[in-house]
């Protein structure tokens, strides 16, 4: 068995090494002469074209090389929004969400619709982002809290999971909104999780 695994492992490690070297060389080539890269497209090289604050022409080249490069679509969308091309911005951001179903495109789209004041389109993307959030719900909750004055509606529209409710409760307590916090505490209590006992004890005496 070892006789087979060891060479296989060496091949994998060797491939990873050469891939890393390839990416580094591609980046060096790109920085030296971006246009020369047009004749040798590959997804590896494309990734180097879509870096933070890359100019739009480089981002367009990047997405032509690799249409699944969500980071480039997002940057293009944000650039278009800053230039006032809202239709193009929306298309680019939606394209990012089509090719990347993880957190970032959803978060970016929720922010885009928040800035536009488009609550109807904000909520589905905010809910999707909430479902994909793995650590900090607060940035999303802060946006949602601005768009709806009912804390229960905010919580339900974002999915209403226990981790989200906990984060929302802590946020409201820190923001000194006891009335809203109490309403979220009731929703959290309905989950009957013993881990929330201390958190909810504060509201035990409240009607």
């Amino acid at each position: 068995m070892t006789f087979v695994v060891r060479p296989l492992l060496l091949v994998v490690l060797g491939s990873a090494f050469f891939l890393t070297i390839g990416i580094a060389i591609a980046e060096f080539d790109f920085r030296r002469n971006p246009q020369s890269m047009l004749h040798s497209p590959s997804w590896v090289r494309a990734a180097n074209w879509a870096r933070f604050e890359s100019p739009p022409d480089q981002l367009h080249i990047a997405v032509s090389l690799n249409p699944r490069l969500a980071s480039a679509w997002m940057q293009l969308g944000l650039d278009a929004e800053a230039d006032g091309n809202l239709e193009e911005a929306e298309m680019d951001l939606l394209q990012a969400a089509r090719v990347d179903r993880l957190y970032l495109p959803s978060w970016t789209l929720a922010n885009f619709y928040f800035r536009r004041g488009d609550a109807n389109r904000f909520w589905p993307w905010a809910k999707r982002a909430a479902a994909l959030t793995f650590d900090d719900y607060r940035p999303l909750l802060r946006l949602a809290d601005v768009l709806d004055i009912s804390p229960e509606k905010v919580a339900i529209r974002l999915g209403g999971g226990a981790p989200l409710l906990r984060a929302y409760l802590d946020l409201l307590i820190n923001a000194q909104h006891p009335g809203s916090a109490r309403r979220i505490a009731r929703l959290l209590a309905a989950h009957h999780d013993p881990a929330d006992r201390d958190r909810l004890a504060v509201f035990a005496d409240c009607p």
Binding site: R51, F52, E53, M74, Q75, L78, E81, A82, Y103, L104, W107, T108, N111, F114, R115, G117, A119, D135, D136, R138, P139, R142, L143, V146, L147, I149
Partner: protein
């Protein structure tokens, strides 16, 4: 309820919805990684609302405000952003396309003269502010709105507000001129033109002089000047001394004003002026280091 009433109610609900739903967004912030927004960790990009606190750790932040101003907050920096200003609390930022926008830090206000102006503005040590202008020009004002300096493209200056007791002290150097019975002097360091009042000025007209005095905040300056200074001491200096070795005088002035700009911050100081209670020193090194002024040497003290 008839159809007309329903239409009225529908329109009212729509208007109310728009009013409630209208977000107070003032711009966007983007980064290559995570950053802090209002104390929360945010990934890649976010929305700025009035008074948003943004903070960087290792990477840079790019801020685009709806008013058109663009900021690049450098690593290890923090600032509170409003639609028309940023309060820089830590680190350094680049400010561009900032018509109608200004930066506040250390009690000073930095604002562009023109929309095309670009500057790198950063905090130095515990009480200094550095303004390095790349394009256009910037004005620096003190807490009272008094013009402290005009910083032109390709130049960098360091500022240090003085203790309140010395806030009215002025120490400037330049050629004294006379216009319609008023004496004017444009300081060689800050490029601020002041009207000078006092005894024996007529005899010094046309000469490079070093004026020490106090700001007369209640007086209205003549056209072309931004403030009136009552001179307590006027000393003639040679042209060479004014242009080159004024550092000695500057250092003395800085000492008088409370150990002002210049010492031990890794920047070179050519001379020091005090205008509106703020010590100002033209600095070298920053722009030369950035490559904007190739070949220019710096001489750190």
């Amino acid at each position: 309820m008839n159809r007309f009433t329903l239409q009225i109610l529908g329109a009212w609900n729509l208007a109310l919805g728009l009013a409630v739903g209208a977000p107070p967004a003032i711009g966007t912030v983007t980064a290559s990684g995570s950053f802090r927004l209002n104390g929360d960790t945010v990934l890649a990009n976010g929305t700025l609302t009035e008074g948003a606190l943004i903070e960087t750790e290792r990477g840079n932040l790019s801020v685009r405000l709806t008013g058109g101003a663009r900021l690049a907050l450098h690593a290890q920096s923090r600032g509170k952003v409003y639609s028309h200003r940023i309060i820089l609390e830590k680190g350094e930022t680049r400010m561009e396309n900032a018509t109608g926008f200004h930066l506040e830090a250390r009690g000073l206000t930095v604002q562009p003269d023109r929309g095309i102006s670009t500057a790198e503005i950063g905090l130095l040590g515990s009480n200094r502010l550095r303004v390095m202008v790349l394009t256009g020009s910037f004005r620096v004002l003190n807490t009272g709105g008094v013009l402290v300096a005009n910083v032109a493209a390709g130049s960098a200056m360091a500022f240090e507000p003085q203790a309140p007791a010395a806030a009215a002290v002025t120490h400037i150097t330049g050629t004294l001129t006379e216009h319609s019975g008023h004496f004017l002097l444009t300081d060689q360091v800050t490029h601020v033109t002041v009207e000078v009042t006092g005894q024996g000025l007529a005899a010094q007209v046309g000469q490079v002089v070093q004026v020490t005095g106090t700001l007369n905040a209640s007086a209205t300056p003549v056209t072309g000047a931004s403030q009136v200074v009552v001179a307590t001491s006027v000393q003639t200096v040679s042209a060479a001394a004014a242009g080159g070795s004024a550092a000695g005088g500057g250092a003395a002035a800085a000492g008088a004003g409370g150990a002002a700009a210049g010492a031990g911050i890794g920047i070179a100081v050519t001379t020091v002026a005090i205008v509106g209670g703020v010590a100002a020193a033209a600095t070298l090194g920053g722009l030369a280091a950035s490559g904007a002024l190739p070949g220019q040497s710096s001489e750190s003290r």
